[in-house]
Symmetry: C2
Subunit: 341 residues, 2 copies
């Protein structure tokens, strides 16, 4: 590993060029108010002339502050996270900080590694998705005084900060809507719930609606599968073999719903006349398929932005947890209808 020389100008060079001390230059850059107008001008000229830019490492070590925040997301290849993270990043940058991002592929172990790496790289705050993870992770972070914001979910722990929404509630409302339309026999295609609280609570919400309506929540046929069109299709075909065959299949997200609709069409079933299907997240895909998916809209961009603002205020010293719950909204399109009589 060769070392490549970079002889960039230093604070001292600027100080010499401007005929002042390094302290004054540093102040010009960080607390301009504390420097008189004339001096400031002279210094800034020197900065421009030399194309000076402070050395990040030196600044970090001297100020004991890096200005870095980290975000670990399950995957970037999913419009919902992409939108949220993009908004998060723009807000972070607008506040003169830097974002580190990594994707865990929905794998807890990878997530832990990535959190550790980011902390080693100087992350002073972390954005994490959902709540499911080893408590040791939170211990690790809090021991180092690194604030965490949870997004895409809410938590009942009053000590944790989050910017999220109840995955359960909207799911329950959607199921209630289906019950009101006359559905009694439910199926549910979900992402794996074991380490994914978002997916799990969506299932729980649907079950709650059944319970509230006096139906047996355990009668809801549940299949867990990978997040892909192909897997969703397979799950749908499998579910059709159930007895009784469900009149509605709720899906944990829109990709699964779209796959289910495709599979229904392969089976020669008409959606929603023969079978209803619902999604979650409201991604673009859900308007492209025919029929368009009845789903739950989540304000991903807003969530990303607010999560950034929240994390920044925690990093800057806010001591009380900040909890922001966002509203979701049921989007009625064409894939949910009355059951066949």
């Amino acid at each position: 590993m060769e070392t490549r020389k970079r002889n960039l100008p230093t604070l001292e060079d600027v100080a010499n060029a401007a005929g002042v001390s390094t302290a004054t230059v540093s102040r010009c850059l960080n607390e301009p108010d504390k420097v008189s107008g004339g001096t400031r001008e002279r210094v800034m000229e020197a900065v421009d002339k030399l194309h000076y830019s402070p050395n990040f490492g030196a600044r970090a070590i001297a100020a004991n502050r890096t200005g870095i925040v980290g975000a670990v997301i399950p995957t970037m290849v999913n419009a919902i996270f992409a939108r949220g993270v993009e908004a998060f990043q723009k807000t972070i940058v607008a506040n003169k900080k830097t974002m580190l991002v990594a994707s865990s592929s929905y794998d807890r172990t990878q997530e832990i590694d990535q959190i550790r790496t980011m902390v080693a790289r100087g992350a002073e705050g972390m954005l994490l998705i959902g709540t499911d993870r080893d408590p040791e992770v939170y211990a690790f972070l809090s021991q180092r005084n690194i604030p965490v914001v949870i997004a895409w979910a809410r938590t009942s722990d009053p000590n944790q900060s989050f910017v999220g929404f109840s995955n359960k509630d909207a799911s329950r409302l959607l199921a209630e809507r289906a019950i009101a339309l006359g559905h009694r026999s439910f199926g549910y295609i979900s992402a794996y719930t074991a380490m994914n609280d978002r997916a799990r609570y969506r299932v729980i919400g649907a079950r709650e609606a059944l319970t509230n309506a006096g139906l047996d929540p355990d009668a809801m046929h549940l299949i867990e599968t990978k997040y892909s069109l192909k897997c969703a299709r397979a799950a749908f075909h499998q579910m059709l073999k159930a007895n009784p065959r469900p009149s509605i299949i709720m899906c944990g997200n829109d990709v699964l719903a779209v796959g289910a609709i495709q599979a229904a069409q392969e089976e020669g079933l008409h959606v929603p006349d023969d079978i209803s299907i619902t999604g979650y997240d409201d991604i673009e895909l859900s308007t492209v398929i025919e029929p368009a998916v009845t789903t739950v809209h989540v304000p991903h961009r807003k969530m990303g932005r607010l999560a950034a603002e929240t994390l920044l205020s925690l990093v800057d010293g806010a001591s009380n947890p900040i909890q922001i719950e966002l509203e979701t909204q049921i989007i009625e399109r064409d894939s949910l209808g009355k059951p066949k009589t």
Copy 2:
């Protein structure tokens, strides 16, 4: 802005705990071969016991090396970039480096800002998408000895490194295929080409095919629009008013193609019997719409991985430009057919 105290263990703490000098600890961490087995063990124990992790800033400044690479992409909210960047990031991390990422929203000015910011943050190499940008940017980077890898495109400049593909060639092949099927009247819906070489070369490829076939390339009706389903639909409706009405509308990417198909259906046109439509990129969306989109497959993940490997070797001192051209592939689905006779 409060400063939050972090009294983390330092190299010296580890050295004391292990009864060696800081130099030995440093060597254990960076060049383990140079330390004897017994000492190494003792040091590593101390590292574990104290949960030591090197201070990033200090290391960067002492070694004059940050291990950071930057990537500026047009948008994360696009599966093609998301996939590529995710692969890029995984490769970077696997090599013990750190990735900074930002999205420019297809805006050159933002891109410049972000490049500057990343350099100020210690980026030692940059991944950039496509070739269109102010030459000053390249000057800025080369002056600082920061290698650049261009992705998603190729360049004829022998001094630039890239991992990409010819946006033009596949587009030309697709148009030739359409010509062979009998099409003579072409329309093209593109993303804005002014600052987007990928979009531009795709158009040029189509024109080339027309020219080669003895047709007038300027007769191809071109509409440029934003990257969204809605805009694509509007563009399609507008294009239908053209005289002669095209028998095929090629689209610069799959999102535009899907929007066009939706619009065709709104007009009561059957695709491909009444009008053919093609896409580019091969994203999931293109298999969800009915009819599925005939498009061009691009190996995004592979490109991301290779771009990372390329950039790493440049950062590590490789002096000759590295140019890797990847193959694309036409995926024949159902949206391209013979023209109506």
